[in-house]
Each structure stands twice: as C-alpha cells, then as structure tokens.
C-alpha cells in the first residue's frame, strides 16, 4: 500500500514532483506576501509612533488606522 503510494507503477516521480512543485509555489507565494504585509505594517506602526499626540489622535480617528494598529489583522 505505502510502496504503491510512493512508486505509483513507475509514475511516482512525476506525480510527486508535480504536487511538490505546487505546494512549494503556494508556500513561497504565501511567505513573500506575508513578508510584504509585515514590512508595510511595521513601517506604519513606526510612522504612527513618531507622530505628535495631536496628529496621532487625528490619525486614530480613522477606523482603518485603528484596525491596522490592532492585532486582529494578523494572520
């Protein structure tokens, strides 16, 4: 059973490489997008931290900014 799952009548190499390539592509794309997301979010937090209290209060009045600063948007 296990041997058949791996070798698949001689087609195992083709089948497993196709599935592996697909899953590897998924993982790579996911990580690239996640890194981009974290980079932009960290940049936003750093910029927000450098604002004066008056400007920060104004910026925080926008719900989208509040959402970005909250941890609920983390994956």
């Amino acid at each position: 059973m296990i041997e058949n799952l791996f070798f698949m009548n001689g087609y195992g190499l083709y089948v497993w490489s196709a599935f592996s390539f697909t899953l590897f592509s998924f993982l790579t794309l996911f990580l690239v997008i996640k890194i981009q997301y974290n980079k932009e979010k960290n940049k936003f937090i750093a910029k927000f931290g450098s604002l004066s209290s008056k400007r920060a209060a104004f910026a925080k009045s926008q719900s989208i900014n509040k959402e970005i600063l909250s941890n609920t948007s983390n994956i």
Partner: protein, 235 residues
C-alpha cells in the same frame, strides 16, 4: 452601489478574513490531497500519472478566471473611475501568475510520461505561455509607472489585449489539432469524466480558489496599508 467597495469600509472585513480563509484552505486541501493521491482510481490508459490532473487543471482554470476578473475590474474601473477596482485587480495578479506557472510546469511534468516530451509548441501550451507573459507585463507595469492615471491606462490596455488570448486558450483544442484532448467537463452538457475523478478535481479546485482568495486578501491589505503609510507622510 460602488460606495460599498470603499477601502475604509471593507478593511475591517478584509483584515480579519485571512485567518479563517487559511483554516478553511488547509481543511479543504487536506481532503483534496487525500482524494487525489490515495482514494481516486488510476486511469486505464494513463495509470497513476492521471493524478497530475488534480493540480494541473484547477491551476489552469483559476489562472484564466483571475485574468478575466482582472480585465473586467480594469475596464469597469477605467470607465467609472473607481480606483479601488484597480487595487483589487492588482492584488489578484500575483496568485494568477503563480497558478499560470503551476499549470505550465505540472503540464510539462505530465507531458513527459503521456506524450514522451517535456514541452511541445502545442496551441494550448503556447497560448498559456502567452498568458503568463501578459501577467508578467501587467505586474511589471505596476512597478514601472509611478503616475496613477498612466498605470491605470497601461494596465487596462494590457488586460484588454491579454483577454483576447483567453478564448483562444479555451477553444484551442477544438480549433486546432493539438496534443491536448477536448474538454472533459462541460457546464451545459454531460461531462465525460467519471464522478470518482470529478469529485477530487472539484475539491482541489475549491482549495486552489481558497488559496487565491487568501493571497488576494493579504495582498489587498498590504496595498491599503501602503496607501495609509503615504497618508501619514502628508499629515
């Protein structure tokens, strides 16, 4: 109606949705992989190599679907001047390109045991390669042009030119003598594929669709934060 697509309004949903979509994707993918690799039967002609279909076909379908969606969003966005539609289109493109590459690579792997070659300048393979080039041109245009109006115009032109290729991909197997077989799944008429193979195929398609939704949401949120970063600079 378009006011519901305002980024400020939908960010509260798009920022929370990825974790639920990721969970659902893992569940559906696990079911799909079990069916595709273990439970589904081997083909009487192609033996176990037919299992490559469960990644190759959904990847091709979703790649075509995403490009069609990008074109629609770009045209409507350009006519009605809805900037958010361009943002949605831009966020869809990375997963569309990756699915296109997966379709080409897994097709090549499937071609070796089935046709005896890794690559052939067959009408469908060539038109899929052209689609990948349109995806690349589209993504490069977003990187090259700084001016928003110019990038909206250029990306719209690229998608309009690229969409001509989509029916060519779909009907290439009927119009020309190709190595590919005609479509086995028809929405309007009876499909020639057996249910034992159709079920894993549909499960994997659902899993791939969820993955593209996940990537879209993550990319869209990144783009919105990028815009808000620029907004903070102006404060």
């Amino acid at each position: 109606m378009f006011k519901y697509f305002e980024p400020n309004k939908i960010f509260s949903i798009t920022s929370k949705a990825p974790k639920y979509v990721l969970f659902l994707f893992i569940v559906i993918l696990s079911i799909g992989l079990t069916e595709a690799l273990i439970l589904s039967p081997e083909d009487y002609k192609q033996s176990h190599s037919v299992r490559i279909m469960y990644v190759h076909v959904p990847a091709a379908w979703i790649s075509l679907g995403i490009f069609s969606a990008i074109t629609f969003l770009s045209i409507v966005g350009y006519i009605f001047k809805i900037r958010n539609f361009f943002l949605i289109a831009k966020s869809l493109a990375p997963s569309g390109l990756v699915f296109n590459i997966i379709a080409l690579v897994t097709g090549s792997i499937w071609g070796k045991p089935t046709w005896g070659t890794w690559w052939a300048w067959d009408a469908r393979i060539t038109s899929m390669l052209i689609l990948a080039l349109f995806y690349i041109m589209y993504l490069v245009a977003w990187r090259i042009f700084e001016d928003k109006d110019k990038v909206f115009k250029v990306t719209s032109i690229i998608t309009i030119l690229g969409i001509i290729n989509v029916p060519i991909i779909k009907y290439s197997v009927d119009w020309w003598n190709t190595l590919h077989q005609p479509a086995s799944i028809n929405i309007l008429s009876k499909s020639s594929i057996h249910i034992s193979m159709l079920f894993p195929l549909m499960t994997m398609t659902a899993a791939f669709a969820l993955f593209s939704l996940l990537i879209f949401l993550m990319k869209y949120n990144t783009e919105l934060i990028k815009i808000k970063n620029k907004g903070l600079d102006r404060l």
